[in-house]
Assembly symmetry: C2
Homo-oligomer: 150 residues x 2
């Protein structure tokens, strides 16, 4: 069966090109992989997905993922298992903007372990900090059951 990310290679290429940086096979493949994924992907998920058609060294996967984050195309999420997971940024609300505005929300399913972005739902957050503390950013992690596992 054909891996779904293959359908996103063209979009990925366009995305990389838009950055003005070098267009390379690993960058295209990794970005396509994130574009195709509906949930947050670890470096291992990516490496495994690409193994058959676009095998990429694991170190390169790490570097490309970090590069995508620096370019604002993706953002990283710290999981409970000490593994970074990566998600594509929605075109119209890149994480940078979001983060400066205040908060960013994710959902982790306790059953299947998948992590999703809650970009569309604007959470109402109000935190009263101790005197002298200043907020620059709020991250929200919601745990529970996703629609599929509920």
């Amino acid at each position: 069966m054909k891996p779904p990310y293959l359908d996103y290679l063209v979009d990925a290429e366009a995305g990389i090109r838009a950055t003005g940086e070098r267009l390379t096979q690993p960058r295209i493949a990794v970005l396509a992989c994130l574009l195709a994924s509906g949930s947050a992907a670890s470096h291992l998920d990516v490496a495994h997905t690409l193994a058959d058609h676009h095998a990429v060294d694991r170190v390169t996967v790490y570097r490309v993922l970090e590069w995508l984050v620096n370019k604002g195309l993706a953002h990283r999420i710290a999981g409970d298992d000490r593994v970074w997971r990566f998600m594509i940024n929605a075109q119209h609300s890149p994480a940078q903007t979001d983060r400066q505005h205040g908060h960013h929300a994710h959902f982790t399913c306790e059953a299947c372990g998948q992590t999703f972005c809650l970009e569309k739902v604007t959470p109402q957050v109000e935190v009263k900090l101790p005197k002298g503390f200043r907020t620059s950013e709020i991250d929200l992690m919601v745990r529970g059951r996703c629609a599929h596992c509920a």
Copy 2:
């Protein structure tokens, strides 16, 4: 200079005793260390603090910290550096209760790196999840500057 945790050994001993489990030197020392710490401590922080007067093997530190979490005396926080940090639970609102009630908030200072618990401030959080998703717990991570570094 005398390390501050020494003043908490008695309290720590009482805390361990209250669990009904075995009273051991490492357990007392590690718990005292958490009691004395105003911010979240990593296993390395603990091991380092205890090095002079109550040297404990690093594996034992890991095990004791996990044990404290299981006993409801402490809770663990995932940091941005893939390191677990541990905090004592406030007596009157143990994390378990808190977590079942909905949410738990932490503050990380971008300047000094310290992480604090925001147990006293009850954040107002309202999240609208996609259809079919169910929430069991919400964790809030606030980033910014603490009073000392502001």
